[in-house]
């Protein structure tokens, strides 16, 4: 059967490995016109690739901001009497004379968490790489709704500006953590510095962010379901495409809950409602004029979003790492289908576990037991995924590159962070470990570091495609080694501190039992500074390679998925006007009987099982 569209896409007996070819939905000839002029090319671009880079750039700015905030926090914890140069001038109220006040420490903590979870971990792996590569990997010319896509980035950007504005108002940024528990976050400025307009800006910023994410998720879902090229069945999509698709389904539902939660919070703060505030509260000598609200309601709403959110943060990285590993191992996974179904089960179970953040919150203790079972059950798909990776490494021929090192590092981090979750999933143990550094170590390892490793692996892997130049591999490997060892040095000790009962979110450690733990904190802070400094190597590599890197070929990694069948960087319409036809899944590495050790997805070459 000849396709009439382009002479290049010959469909020669496309049955390979027993899979049937399916007609994908009819695509329009082109989704939007080619961009003209600086503004439509680089600013208000409809091109998913530019939008993906914009998201990535926003995440890059956010991660460096978040990192600097964490350095200030770590510095203050171990050297509280040392004046931080220039900080006294930048923050005269928060850090008079360069000495960080307790409320400023909490502002740093709140903004660090908010920037990292929202503007880095939701932006880069999902909106950044997903926007760039999902359409290409399914053979589409762009997203289904390019205008919504553009709006989603700029909405997110406005949300970022509103958040950062909190640093510049007189009362400073909020001090209630990225979790913003009520009534601390709801009663207003009586509750302390930063809880006036700072908290308002936070809630407005996150509400705006939710809108951006909803627009993005709509796009990802529609595009994946409707714009796949001929032959690109769902099971032939690369694992990272699946991860983005599952993440966008989760995101659509999760952000749809966070948005009204933020609006209710703003109503309590500004319109005198009492969703989250009961009667009789005396805050700073003032009786609060509210009645009938429930602080636990905020926690339920927030964590109903918050738990799926952490899977939104990690699943794209799982997808990216799987993709990079397969290419680097030169063999397929033991079963991509099992891994995909495991990701789907994680997505499904993620809705049932939110109460594990609330075991000792005062909710019905029977609920705590109920929540602990799905939480423990999630270990199973997570373990399946890990074992699939490990089992696939057996018999492989792993090519060591910066990208594959970060992917392997991810596997290690995922194991470490996942195991500590096992402790916290049990309510009886959580009685002791809740709100200690054990929790902070857990989520930094399994979400913070692991997801960052996913982003970095994706960056080293896809930079040649996105920019047409190779990154410097020597610098990349150096970056990996310092970061890998450094993050273990920072976050493994957090677990030890937690076992002793070191409480989290403390601006200073003044309790009697804390004194013997200070040397551990010093070790952590120094490791944090060194590891942070090493990120400058990455930043330099990124910028230098963009302009001076060696020119990249179309397929430097000998990979199979569709992004490697187009030029580096791709033209504005990805496939140059042709419609790719897909014959294989993206795991055709080391296949017997094929010429070379891999077969690309759009290759008409037949693969036999013999």
């Amino acid at each position: 059967m000849e396709s009439a569209v382009s002479p290049l896409s010959r469909t020669v007996n496309a049955k390979g490995r027993g899979e049937h070819m399916e007609e994908a939905a009819v695509q329009p000839a082109h989704v939007h016109a080619p961009p003209e002029g600086f503004i439509s090319k680089y600013i208000f671009s409809l091109d998913h690739k530019m939008i993906g880079k914009q998201y990535y750039g926003l995440a890059l700015v956010s991660v460096f901001m978040g990192m600097v905030l964490s350095w200030l926090m770590r510095f203050h914890l171990v050297w509280p009497d040392v004046k931080v140069p220039a900080l006294g001038a930048l923050a005269p109220t928060g850090a008079p004379g360069g000495l960080i006040t307790p409320e400023y420490y909490l502002s740093l903590l709140t903004m660090h968490g908010t920037l990292m979870v929202f503007f880095v971990l939701t932006n880069a792996p999902f909106a950044g790489f997903g926007n760039y590569f999902l359409p290409i990997q399914i053979g589409a010319e762009d997203m289904a709704f390019p205008r919504f896509n553009m709006m989603s980035f700029w909405t997110t950007f406005v949300g970022f500006l509103v958040l950062v504005l909190a640093f510049f108002i007189p009362d400073g940024p909020p001090t209630s953590g990225w979790t913003a528990y009520a009534p601390l976050s709801a009663v207003g400025k009586d509750a302390g510095p930063g809880l006036g307009w700072g908290q308002n800006l936070w809630a407005i910023s996150i509400a705006i962010f939710c809108v951006g994410q909803l627009l993005g998720s709509l796009n990802f879902i529609s595009t994946t379901l409707d714009l796949r090229a001929k032959g690109m069945t769902l099971m032939r999509m690369p694992i990272c495409t699946w991860a983005w698709f599952i993440t966008s389904c989760i995101g659509l539902l999760a952000f749809a809950v966070l948005l009204p939660a933020c609006l209710l919070l703003l109503l309590d703060r500004m319109a005198g409602t009492s969703f989250f505030i009961p009667s009789g509260l005396v805050v700073s000598d003032r009786l609060q004029n509210h009645a009938g609200g429930s602080p636990l309601l905020w926690q339920h709403l927030f964590w109903f979003f918050g738990h799926p959110e952490v899977y939104i943060a990690i699943l794209p990285a799982v997808g990216i790492v799987s993709h990079v590993l397969v290419t680097s191992m030169r063999k397929p996974l033991l079963s991509a289908k099992v891994l995909i179904y495991s990701m789907m089960s994680i997505g499904f179970l993620s809705w049932m576990v939110w109460g594990h953040h609330m075991f000792v919150s005062g909710m019905n203790p029977f609920s705590s037991l109920l929540f602990s079972f799905p939480t423990l059950t999630i270990t199973i798909p997570a373990t399946i995924i890990t074992l699939i990776w490990l089992g696939s490494l057996y018999g492989a021929n792993i090519q060591i590159t910066s990208a594959s090192l970060f992917a392997l590092g991810f596997v290690s981090m995922f194991v470490s962070g996942g195991v500590s979750g096992f402790f916290l999933a049990q309510p009886s143990i959580d009685i002791y470990l809740h709100a200690t550094y054990f929790v902070v170590g857990h989520f930094h390892m399994v979400m913070g570091v692991a997801a960052i490793f996913g982003i970095l692996s994706g960056t080293y892997f896809w930079f040649p495609k996105m920019s047409g130049r190779m990154m410097n591999e020597t610098l990349g490997k150096l970056h990996f080694w310092i970061t890998f060892v450094g993050t273990y040095c920072i976050f493994m000790p957090f677990h030890y501190l937690g076992l002793v009962g070191n409480v989290r979110r403390y601006a200073s450690f003044v309790d009697d039992f804390m004194a013997p733990l200070m040397p551990v904190h010093k070790f952590i802070s120094i490791a944090a500074f060194i590891t942070g400094a090493a990120q400058l190597i990455f930043l330099y590599n990124l910028i230098h390679s963009r302009f001076r890197g060696k020119v990249a070929p179309e397929n430097p990694w000998n990979a199979t998925s569709l992004e490697w069948s187009i030029p580096s960087p791709p033209p504005w319409n990805n496939f140059g006007g042709r419609h790719p036809v897909v014959f294989h899944d993206p795991y055709q590495y080391g296949v017997k009987g094929s010429k070379g050790d891999f077969v690309m997805q759009d290759s008409p070459e037949q693969i036999t099982n013999g």
């Binding site: 302390g192 057996y394 096992f422 049990q426 009886s428 709100a435 080694w481 030890y496 990694w557």
Partner: protein
């Protein structure tokens, strides 16, 4: 232009001829990290303080069992990763890639049987420790103490000779006069013998029924040695009960972010022999 994809000639960016030293280096570093991480645990360098409660041993056992399971999984997985990377990275050109016998089915079965049953078993067995704390009622003769958490201190109230806690009036709170609870002794007779203190003192080996009241925002009550942690929720009457089995001075610290003074929000818990406790209470009553 992108021709449809027959295998390209080997990209120079994949130097499979390389000795593969870096893969082996990864394996070595990972083994070092794994052993270094396990060392402080195995040598008990960072452990919870001595348990002074009647319910805590079940929690400690649960923690120890979980540490053994989790530790085994952690060390096992990391060493397996290290071994595979050592053996299967940057092999000679022409090496064939092979598949693990058993394939994905083996992985799924392993996950379900080994991990799944262990995880659920520990989870199921662990409920008893939780139930001991939360699904039992305080004894009728438990000593009642009320704790109030407010930015940024804990204050405690004992019911006094009449055995009754007077009602609280938030509008009567006057901290300059040490009326932290908002008692109204002028109008409430029961308030006149209530004893308010800044330290929580309890008799050893006697069940305590702790009533928890939040004055302004969320706080939490955490005593490591007692293996107790529970949030104060504004608007909710929560309570805990426990028995301390060893005299001594312990710290109660707030673990729910409550504002700028959160780090400095603590009180001392004194566990005294019964007669010393009664004397202490009498002295405090005289100061009211």
């Amino acid at each position: 232009m992108a021709a449809v994809g027959l295998a390209r000639r080997d990209s120079k960016w994949l130097k499979s001829k390389e000795a593969g030293a870096m893969g082996k280096f990864f394996a070595v570093i990972l083994v070092v990290i794994t052993l270094a991480s396990a060392y402080p645990i195995v040598t008990h360098k960072f452990v919870q303080p001595e348990d002074i409660s009647t319910h805590g041993h079940a929690i400690d056992e649960q923690l120890a069992d979980t540490m053994a399971e989790g530790g085994f999984a952690f060390v096992g997985a990391q060493l397996l990763l290290a071994f595979f990377v050592w053996k299967f990275s940057s092999r000679k050109d022409g090496s064939k890639v092979t598949h693990l016998p058993g394939g994905a089915k083996l992985m799924v079965a392993t996950a379900f049987i080994l991990v799944g049953t262990e995880v659920l078993a520990l989870g199921v067995l662990g409920q008893k420790a939780w139930a001991d704390v939360y699904f039992t009622s305080p004894k009728p003769d438990a000593l009642q103490v009320q704790a109030q958490a407010g930015q940024f201190a804990f204050y405690f109230r004992y019911p006094g000779a009449d055995g009754k806690f007077a009602p609280l009036h938030p509008d009567k709170i006057d901290e300059g006069n040490q009326n932290y609870f908002g008692l109204d002794p002028a109008n409430d007779v029961e308030a006149r013998d209530d004893i308010v203190t800044a330290e929580m003192t309890i008799p050893v080996n006697r069940e305590i029924h702790l009533l928890m009241h939040a004055k302004d925002v969320g706080h939490s009550f955490y005593v490591r040695e007692l293996r107790i942690q529970q949030d104060f929720v504004p608007g909710l009457d929560l309570s805990l009960h426990f028995t301390a089995t060893k005299t001594g001075k312990y710290e109660i610290v707030c673990t729910q972010l409550c504002g700028l003074g959160h780090y400095n929000m603590k009180a001392y818990l004194n566990v005294l022999p019964q007669d010393e406790f009664e004397k202490w209470l009498k002295d405090r009553a005289a100061e009211q």
